[in-house]
Amino acid sequence: MSEKIVTLSDATFDEHVKGSDVPVLVDFWAEWCGPCKMISPVLEEIAEEQAGKIQIGKLNIDDNLDVTRRFDVMSIPTLILFKDGEPQVRLIGAKPKGQLLEEISAYL
């Protein structure tokens, strides 16, 4: 995994997401989810290319049910973009890189 991606948990979520100077794109994922695997390399690329503009965080839903429930995630992969700790936009399902960037660009 790219060093630029941060692993989030129920315990560290607020600290990371609220404390971040840049928007945080949180990937709600699980080991058993095929489409999650598909977007993983896309997120790695975005983390490298947009370093300093956006922080990518990964939250394993199996291990972190509190945050998963708090944001009513009911389908994975779900990506939620947080700015100043507040959710701005939610993307459900795997998407190509171009479309993903387009949908979050307004919030960066």
Binding site: P35, K37, V73, M74, S75, T78, I92, A94, K95, K97
Partner: protein
Amino acid sequence: MPERRKVLIIGSGPAGLTAAIYSARAQLEPLVIEGEPSSNSDQPGGQLMLTTEVENYPGFVDGIMGPELMGVMRDQAIRFGAELRTAKVSRLDLSSTPFGAWVGDPEADEATIEADTLIVATGARSLMLGCPNEDRLLGYGVSTCATCDGFFFREQHIAVAGGGDSALEEAMFLTRFASKVTVVHRRDELRASKIMQDRAFKNPKIEFLWNHTIIDVLGDTKVSGITVQDTLSGETSELGVTGLFVAIGHEPNSGLLKGQLELEDNGYVRTFDRSSRTSVDGVFACGDVQDHFYRQAITSAGSGCMAAIDAEHWLEEHGE
């Protein structure tokens, strides 16, 4: 200048990747346009990326996870020199040879790739119900992927739409989480295989609602129920469920091919003489885009092998 290939393969499910393995071993240096991430089955790896355990693929005594199987097939294709590109074909021109394929802007003057032979392995995608609020609630209780989303329905009552093997597989998988699964089917018998029916009828968590169609999904920010209609009496009623999993069948990913080669009335690519040949000389089709009957990983892989061999023979005959 377009890049030139002897063999271009579109799609990367079992059919596309098997065609890639065979044509790469035959030194034809195939290029596979594998698709882009999506959650609706035209993605890299195909429909198996949305499944869990595959129990009936020969060679795996204890079964193998769908995404893992596709991962090893992909590695096998790469090992023999196949090139895979994560992209989508936006346009095809099959009117003259070499065939043209566009990646990215379909309006561009020049094709991105020119190919002597084309292997179409674009697969099929899940059909949706088409009822008013289905789309709005997709991801908020409406799902086409039990393996992705079943987890979120622990101890809840959910509905599955459909009556085929995939519907029963989803229903069975969902009983790991749900307290009750109601299979809503528009007829009074299932088209699923006998073994799946037996398993489903024996499962105490699965109930059947026969002769009903789903006409709407209810819920403000997430699913709270569905409206069903009795196909015999026409009466409508509501069923209080928090999830709806749609498994009513598939449609072929053949949009790119419309008007370019012969399709069956149902949109599937027509192949000829028990081969992978299509109505256009030099274009071959394999996997679910040309098969609405067997639709198995193994038949798909088998037809991918046929397509690679057919393409290889074609190239030999045409002195390439």
